[in-house]
């Protein structure tokens, strides 16, 4: 099964877990206390997060600490952020461009285009 950053964040509980440990590593037990779902369910989410490379587990004494590895997440959100800004600027520019263009007089935008292409098969 493919494990990547998108699978990691597809689930709301996993997003909450990431938020919880984004500031500092926490023991698995105290993470589980923040959720109403069962501890095994939280363990499973954390296992998925480790497989996606978003969480690393360190053992300290008898506790297992979960630490967020947010580099991967950051890379992806940066790309999304970058292109979101880019496209918003471009689509604004398109709007300005269309405004400046001379309007065609009395165009008929509701022309019927009922070409039945692809409907009749030729029989030979």
């Amino acid at each position: 099964m493919r494990r990547d950053v998108f699978q990691a964040i597809a689930d709301p509980t996993r997003r909450e877990i990431i938020k919880l440990i984004a500031q500092k590593p926490l023991p698995l037990n105290s993470i589980a206390e923040n959720f109403e779902v069962s501890r095994p369910a939280i363990s499973k989410h954390i296992r998925i997060l480790t497989e996606c490379g978003i969480v690393m587990i360190h053992t300290r004494g008898r506790e297992r600490y979960c630490e967020a590895q947010l580099q991967k997440l950051n890379e992806v959100t940066q790309w999304v952020d970058y292109f979101k800004t880019y496209w918003n600027q471009k689509l604004d520019a398109l709007g300005d461009f269309l405004e400046k263009q001379p309007q065609k007089p009395a165009s008929t935008p509701l022309k019927k285009k009922n070409k039945a292409y692809g409907k009749s098969k030729s029989r030979h």
């Binding site: 990547d4 950053v5 998108f6 699978q7 964040i9 597809a10 689930d11 997003r15 990431i18 938020k19 984004a22 500031q23 967020a68 947010l70 997440l73 950051n74 890379e75 992806v76 959100t77 940066q78 790309w79 999304v80 952020d81 970058y82 292109f83 979101k84 496209w87 918003n88 471009k90 689509l91 520019a93 398109l94 709007g95 300005d96 461009f97 269309l98 405004e99 263009q101 065609k104 165009s107 935008p109 509701l110």
Partner: protein, 147 residues
Amino acid sequence: MEKAKVVIERTYNASVERVWKALTDIDQMKQWYMPALTSFEPKVGYETGFSAGKPGGEQWLHAWKITEVIPNKKISYEWRYPDFPGNSLVTFELSPDGEGTRLKLSHVGLETFEGDKNPGLAPQNFENGWDQLINILLKDFVEKVPA
């Protein structure tokens, strides 16, 4: 499952034909969209390449390859940086909206651009705190991703 993408919808006070022309006619595209464009034809399989970047900043090689064309309705092309890993897909879809035109832009496959190796990020120098990152950016695009 859908991956990292940007989806934006706009309505323009212009006919579908005019918006289509702005999206596919090289002379018009150069005016509002991609001044560096050297060649473009809305034909499936057509490929074009050019260098572009921020004015005065570093320029990056871009490669586009057209994958789908439905005149006045839809055009899709691959968008990649030949010097770097990854390939994405840009799609413009048009539909009449009263006297105007509804445009839907989607840009998918952004996760294939590996952040640390790629050009778009280098000049950006993002300084978002984790809190902002997770609460705003992440939420923003996750909500558009079907789980």
